[in-house]
């Protein structure tokens, strides 16, 4: 036994393992209803309470509730429902409504009398003469203010600026909100008389009203500086709670984040002084949908009815403090007595429905870039919006033309035949005999090869194949090389634009090279420091320095994102305390890239350090002794002994490290998020955006991934040739 575990303990572990594996998947009974949601905290508690009530009243119906983490929710719905592995009912926001319909994920629900809901909310869910879901709750932005700082809330935007200017001082802001996010800018756009859509057509962003709203944003952030830039949700909370933000524009969820000792109140959003129109926020809905695969069984209907009943709505209003959709509950004394819920009901009268057109999913990100540029004053509103319009046109370009599958199949067949012929010719005589005599070797490899073929090879081939197709609704359409031509052609932007494929490719290479250089450099330095035998506490230093490797990288990325925050981050605090001025980390390419790099170096150096430590230990000490006797100094010993001996040991780690870094998704996606304007995006994050954030262009994303694959393949072939060349040179 090569592990220090006794046979009895083995048996116990084996038993545990077997029982855990054998937990039977219960047979589906018809009376089971599965409900998915991604609520958390109070909203989840309120939902659970409503479900508990239903269980008590309907003991014959089994309800299985699953809270899916928000980060995985949309993708899980899209994958699971077509496979029949999804829920019967699920709760999701309404902005994906049309996407859900096009993908045939939802069916019009039944079993509920919709007159119990506010008619405006029903209308938002009605399309093609059917209502596609039941509204549970709605959310709209309102104005929160600290009563100890603001006497009366502003009625107009001029008031807002006047009050905010009075309350803005060093480290304190009069008016704070996530000004870079389109959802938060929409009220100003509508207040200035602008709109996003004409019917179902997305309008260009640079309308006069939109430019006026952009000027207003610029005034708040860049000219008056009453609103900070680069603000995230957590920062809004932080500033408000510490009395460093007097007024905040936020949604109902903000209530649970306000500290207990803060005297706060809410008001409707102000009227825009220039136009006399109210600033109208979006009304986003929490909707109960029925999966297209779920039969409208009595259980499903009964649960739909119970969850949307006035009684359940009242529970959700009380426990989860949700602004609920039921008309009767809006007028309940408890709800009317709650200042937040009452204000939500009042604001609802001045809202715009959240767009459900799929093209809006493409618009959010470019629009966000425009807003960030306006805030920082790097572009005029007109220029920024015009660029965003162009970006949306590029993203929404029509799918590649359908190609003839027959020609491609023929070409593939020819390629296979030629390939086989070449392979046969290259096979030495006797290969067959060798194959026959290598039975043992193949037997040893078989388990791993089988696993790899099935679980890596098959999905890989499916991915490769998908690159030649594109989804249209639920239909796969063969487009041949269309996706590749579109990516590599990069005809929409000049290669120097941050939006172009080639720019992203160069950034990816730069990213990989600088990472590996720093990983190896830092790893080498630390390994040398940790090497000497006189060093006390080597074990402790080692473990502490390896620790970054042990912590999941998404956690690290989120932490670093916080550390690099411009206003509240610890790194700027540190810079200021030693006399530097704070850096806006995500305003420029260089600092944003540096922030990503720092994070990934923190994550990646331990692996190299450990590899090098091991390699150092394998160098016989007498080599150094001999060199010393010969009079070689420390530097000479390092360059003539350490480097040449450690180098080869590093090759596999560097090759693997390069592949991992090239495809390091979490750091770039979570730390810089591609800011500024997509310049720090790398190829793999672009592929991800195509797959999951741009209306599910899986085919395009697969083609992108294949391009990545090809680049890495080229890299490994090159290094191999280089190494082989060097080995040959050394041998002669």
């Amino acid at each position: 036994m090569w592990l220090p575990i006794s046979a009895a303990r083995w048996r116990r572990w084996a038993f545990l393992l077997v029982t855990a594996l054998a937990l039977p998947a219960k047979a589906e009974d018809s009376q089971e209803v599965v409900l998915w949601h991604s609520y958390r905290a109070g909203e989840a508690e309120a939902l659970d309470a409503a479900v508990d009530g239903f269980r008590r009243d309907n003991p014959e119906i089994r309800v299985r509730v699953l809270q899916v983490p928000y980060g995985a929710y949309p993708q899980k719905l899209r994958t699971a429902i077509p496979q029949g592995a999804g829920p019967d009912l699920f709760i999701a926001p309404n902005d994906h409504l049309r996407d859900f319909i096009e993908r045939e994920l939802i069916a019009p629900p039944s079993g509920v009398d919709v007159t119990r809901f506010d008619p405006r909310l029903n209308a938002a869910l009605t399309l093609k003469d059917a209502q596609w879901g039941y509204p549970l709750a709605y959310k709209a932005l309102v104005l929160f203010y600290r009563k100890d700082m603001v006497e009366a809330p502003p009625a107009t935007t001029d008031d807002l600026i006047a009050i905010a200017r009075r309350l803005t001082a060093a480290g304190r802001y009069g008016f704070v909100y996530q000004a870079g996010i389109p959802y938060y800018h929409a009220p100003w756009l509508f207040g200035f008389g602008g709109r996003f859509f004409d019917g179902e057509t997305l309008l260009p962003f640079e309308s006069p009203a939109a430019i006026a709203s952009g000027d207003f944003l610029r005034r708040l952030t860049f000219e008056e500086k009453v609103t900070p830039v680069d603000v995230q949700g957590a920062l809004v909370t932080e500033l408000f709670n510490r009395g460093r933000a007097a007024m905040v524009m936020n949604g109902p969820w903000f209530v649970s984040e306000i500290a207990a000792d803060v005297p706060w109140a809410v008001a409707p959003l102000p009227v825009v002084s220039e136009t006399g129109l109210a600033a109208r926020p979006f009304a986003s809905l929490d909707v109960l949908y029925r999966s297209a695969k779920a039969s409208p069984s009595p259980g499903v209907r009964a649960l739909s009815d119970a969850l949307t009943s006035d009684a359940a709505a009242l529970t959700r209003a009380k426990v989860g403090r949700q602004p609920v959709a039921n008309v009767a509950v809006m007028h309940d004394p408890i709800v009317e007595g709650d200042q937040l819920l009452a204000m939500q009901a009042r604001q609802l009268a001045a809202t715009e429905p959240l767009p459900t057109e799929p093209v809006m999913q493409l618009a959010w990100h470019p629009y966000e870039s425009a807003l960030r540029q306006i805030q920082r004053g790097t572009k005029s509103p007109e220029a920024a919006f015009r660029e965003a319009t162009k970006r949306v046109q590029v993203l929404a370009r029509p799918l590649p033309k359908e190609a003839s599958l027959r020609n491609y199949v023929l070409a593939a067949l020819v390629a296979v035949v030629v390939g086989l012929g070449v392979a046969l010719r290259r096979m030495r005589r006797g290969t067959l005999a060798e194959v026959r005599s290598s039975g043992t070797a193949y037997a040893f490899i078989a388990p791993a090869a089988l696993g790899m073929l099935l679980l890596v090879g098959v999905p890989f081939l499916m991915g490769v194949g998908l690159g030649f197709f594109e989804y249209e609704g639920t239909q796969l359409r063969f487009v041949g090389l269309g996706n590749f031509a579109s990516i590599l052609g990069s005809s929409d932007y000049s290669p120097l634009s941050p939006m172009s494929f080639y720019f992203t490719m160069v950034v990816t290479v730069l990213w990989t090279v600088s990472n590996i250089a720093l990983h190896v450099g830092l790893g080498f330095a630390l390994a040398l420091l940790l090497q000497p035998t006189w060093l006390r506490g080597r074990g402790i230093f080692r473990v502490l320095l390896i620790l970054p490797w042990a912590i999941p990288n998404y956690i690290t990325a989120l932490i670093f994102k916080g550390l690099f925050n411009t206003q509240l981050g610890a790194i700027n605090a540190l810079l200021v305390s030693v006399g530097f001025s704070p850096v806006s980390w995500f305003d420029g390419f260089v600092p944003a890239f540096a922030a990503n790099l720092t994070t990934n170096v923190w994550l990646g150096f331990p692996f190299m350090m450990v590899t090098i430590l091991g390699a150092l230990q394998a160098i016989p000490a007498d080599l150094y002794e001999a060199a010393r006797v010969d009079g070689a100094g420390p530097w000479r010993r390092f360059t003539s002994i350490t480097l040449p001996l450690v180098g080869p040991a590093l090759v596999p780690s560097v090759v693997l490290g390069t592949i991992w870094t090239f495809n390091m998704f979490n750091v770039v996606f979570l730390v810089s998020e591609g800011q500024p304007e997509g310049a720090t995006e790398i190829l793999v994050t672009e592929a991800y955006r195509w797959a999951f954030m741009r209306n599910g262009r899986y085919g395009y994303a697969a083609a992108y991934s294949l391009v990545i694959f090809a680049i890495l393949l080229l890299y490994s072939a090159l290094t191999k040739r280089l190494l082989a060349g060097r080995a040959a040179a050394e041998a002669t």
């Binding site: 090569w2 594996l21 937990l23 998947a25 599965v34 991604s38 699953l66 983490p69 995985a72 993708q75 899980k76 994958t79 496979q83 949700g233 957590a234 709670n241 949604g251 969820w253 290969t431 060798e434 194959v435 070797a441 040893f444 490899i445 388990p447 791993a448 090869a449 696993g451 790899m452 099935l454 679980l455 890596v456 991915g463 998908l466 630390l526 090497q531 000497p532 006189w534 473990v543 320095l545 970054p548 042990a550 912590i551 999941p552 956690i555 916080g562 509240l568 981050g569 610890a570 590899t611 091991g614 394998a618 040991a649 596999p652 780690s653 592949i659 495809n663 793999v684 393949l713 490994s716």
Partner: protein
């Protein structure tokens, strides 16, 4: 290097190491502060306010119950251990056998085989999720712990095969040949001679497989659809929602999720250094 260098060199080395360690530990410290602080929101502060100290976040994470009131943490911890442990065991079994063959035999497909283990990692993992989902669904392994174990064990496999092959290459083939002459079978040689000698490399391989499986979130959240089957990272991400997040609970969860791996690192650190690279230096 047996002699002790001058005092200032030693002092410099200690100072440099201490500084680096502090810098490296800072984010960990930030998580720890957030985990035990009542301050809402995502704040990274240098000097925490002791008045805000609370154990609520840790308690909340440890005592989560599902909608039917059952204690979830224990169940999910067990899931995580079974998944990561199972993936590790399976991964080692597959990696050691394959690596042994690559190290000891020359056969048609030898080079292509080794190369394919590296190449296959070049395809971005995010694009594999949907195909894997369909595959697991076809195999009836969706929403099962077994399915997750099988997927994870192959995820870490290429690295593990490389590692193990490198290490096996350093073990003299004379050992195998002597045993062969004595009439031992290849399987017996592998099991009784080679594996015990490769302990450091096995430790690294095990650690790496365990780490990969233990921390994975996206696939687990996509493939599993029952709370009682979730692994800990999935639960961790329930604290991050569409509208804001409970950063205190998230930080507390991060700490708790990281602890077992840190302990494992501590236990295996000696083997780690020996195993990770010894194979590559011949």
């Amino acid at each position: 290097m047996t002699e002790r260098p001058a005092l200032w060199v030693r002092a410099g080395a200690y100072a440099l190491l201490t500084l680096t360690t502090i810098a490296v530990m800072f984010p960990v410290y930030a998580v720890a502060v957030m985990a035990v602080s009542r301050a809402p929101g995502f704040s990274v502060v240098l000097s925490p306010d002791p008045a805000l100290f609370t154990l609520d976040h840790l308690r909340k994470f440890l005592l989560t119950t599902d909608s039917e009131g059952r204690w979830l943490f224990g169940r999910q911890l067990l899931n995580s251990i079974v998944v990561a442990g199972g993936a590790t065991a399976l991964g080692i079994l597959l990696a050691t056998t394959a690596a042994y063959a690559f190290s000891r035999f020359r056969f048609p497909g030898h080079r292509a085989g080794i190369a394919s283990f590296v190449i296959i990692q070049m395809f971005p993992a995010t694009m594999m999720i949907v195909p894997l989902y369909l595959l697991l669904s076809a195999l009836g392994l969706l929403d099962t712990i077994t399915g997750l174990i099988v997927v994870y064990s192959t995820t870490a496999l290429p690295f593990c095969v490389w590692m193990m092959k490198g290490y096996f290459d350093t073990i003299p083939t004379d050992l195998d040949e002597a045993a062969l002459v004595d009439g031992a079978s290849r399987l017996r040689i592998f099991y009784q001679i080679i594996l015990p000698l490769a302990r450091p490399a096995i430790a690294v391989t095990a650690l790496f497989s365990f780490l990969t499986a233990w921390n994975e979130f996206v696939m687990a959240a996509t493939f599993l659809s029952r709370e009682e089957k979730f692994t800990l990272p999935v639960t961790l991400f329930r604290h991050v929602g569409a509208y804001g997040a409970d950063w205190g609970a998230f930080a507390a969860g991060s700490l708790i999720v990281s602890i077992p791996v840190c302990l494992l690192f501590f236990a295996l650190q000696r083997q780690l250094v020996g195993g990770l690279s010894a194979g590559a230096v011949k």
